[in-house]
Amino acid sequence: MNNERSQSYRALVWRQFRKNRRAVASLYGIFALLGVALFADLIANDMPYYVVMNGRTYFPIAIDYGARLGLVSWPGALRGVDFKKLPNEGALFPPIPYLPRRADLSEESFSPPTARHWLGTDQLGRDVASGMVHGARISLTIGIVVAGIQLTVGILLGGLAGYYGGWVDLALSRVFELMLAIPTFFLILTVAAVLPPSIYNVMAILGLTGWIGVARFVRSEFFKLRGLDFVTAARGLGVSSSAVMFRHILPNALAPVLVSASFSVASAILAESALSFLGIGVPADLVTWGSILAVSEQNTFAWWLAVFPGFAIFATVTAYNLFGDGLRDALDPRLKV
């Protein structure tokens, strides 16, 4: 049933979306960030792309990927080698030749931005630029996974309440009310503080506390759609309830749900960096945007530890918010001129 008409609807929305320069720019920004997150190991790494040792050429970053997947093991010649101290036979390092998880005591701590460390170093001499690149990966992963959990739970519960109505709706609405009235940030803080620090716990906490907006939204969409003719027709044809819900109703409610997904990503990234900033939930040795920022609160002279990660959080959140806003405007039929 979604053939030509839904195609043209999609084209219509896209045309409308493209008129919004802010939203298009933020979409490009999001793609750029995804690129940085995806290729973080190639942008900032303390291993070279290739290295020539005793006449043989190795590709340490590729080997590292393979080793982490368990496909290959490190060649004996490379084990325990400090690539930076090799005699110069030829090696190509990434633009930022550091890894945030390796604290190097030979590096100067609290170095302001220099040619060696573009964005300075933190209290352990870790390169901030590298921390930013790898932090993008953490932030985006958290944002996307959390939004995924929120959408799954929200669509499921909201869909059930909206589709069945009656006592199912009554019972689920009590649950929604409960989630609405619970002081969310305080709840997140409490759970994150009592659980052992782990990035997966943070994802689960943020995902399981933030789905209420999606659920209420999906519920009202399902309420609206379940009375329409195509749903009656599908049911008349003997399509099962779950197929009606997910194959027939959901695709029609999906576009607006995407809008709230975009806002979900933004608020999850914000919440994670707030937790990292407070030093709760995320392991102490993990470098995230929020944790770099937190160091600056105690060491107020180190402006570079405040300015760069803060700006990264801000830019990412803005991009997702502007994208969501643009999409919402594009989907709003009343605003079409």
């Binding site: 802010r22 609405s173 009590r174 009310e177 409960l178 609405l180 009235a181 619970i182 002081p183 940030f185 305080f186 709840l187 803080l189 409490t190 759970v191 503080a193 009592v194 659980l195 052992p196 009202s220 309420f223 933004a266 914000l270 960096s273 707030a274 900033f277 407070l278 709760i280 929020g290 920022l293 600056s296 609160e297 107020t300 002279f301 402006w303 405040a306 300015v307 803060g310 959080i313 801000f314 959140v317 803005t318 918010n321 502007l322 806003d325 009343r334």
Partner: protein
Amino acid sequence: MLRYALRRVLLMIPTFVGITFIAFLIMHLAPGDPVELYFHGGLAAGIQGASTERLADIQKAKEAERRRLGLDRPLPVQYAVWFERLVTLDLGESFKDNRPVWDKIRERLPVTITLNLVSIFLTYLIAIPLGIYSSVRAGSWPESLLTTSVFMLYSLPSFWVGTLILIYFCGGDYFLWFPPAGLHSLDYDPSWPLLRQLRDYSWHIAMPVVCETYAAFAALSRYMRSSMLENALQDYVRTARAKGLPERVVILKHILRNSLIPMVTMLADLLPSLIGGSVIIETIFSIPGIGQLGYQAVLARDYPVVLGLFAISSALTLVGILLADLLLAVVDPRISFGRAEQ
């Protein structure tokens, strides 16, 4: 209306029990309890080298402490005990210093409430004119610029802005325009004349208020704008224009009045934030308010304080939601009470 309100109040009770029970469960099912935490800092420090007798002693002391705090009883019983005391408005005693939780909360309430009242007042003062302006001039380039900057304000993490303000304006290594911590100057004296006290206080809360306000007024002015735009499309606006009313009257008397309805309900939504306080802002600026109390209690696993804060803020949220629905029905006669839940 009274019947409706009563029904809603009754429905609030199970929700309230649910919230506090969830908070209770989370704290008690998590690995490690407060006794463990307190002992690790003090008596049990260096436990690895201790003799077996000493270990047994420590174990015994822990058991005694658990018994004293009531942590040895089954969970449902513990919750029932807590709830029974709550009914008489007794929130129990803090694990940390044995002071009544209610006293600890009460002495911090005025700090957070005044701070937030000022913030909320300023939020509305800025947001409403901003929303009106950006809806009336919708599409023009100054409006587009304004909307973009408001959107950016909304996305600015308050802990970043707070940290930057602390570094640059509060005597980090740059300017000392505002005090970095607290609510009063070091030489503060309650016998100061009122004006001087007021000046000292506003000097201290200026930056925290900025941090708490900017994101809220950005969000609120967005709501105001879309509410205005929505109302501008209504038939009664066309009628008003058609009968020759000046544009000013149409905007201020017809559109604005109706657009304020959602603003009223937003005000009720703000009630819980009035007391909830901002954990982050209060931590950055070292303000002894509810947020800071909550943060410290969570870190120290001070269960009674955490539960007390959960109870108070969720009760306020529930009252806020109810007030919002009732206010909405009062200002908007189209909403009937029987089916207000859609």
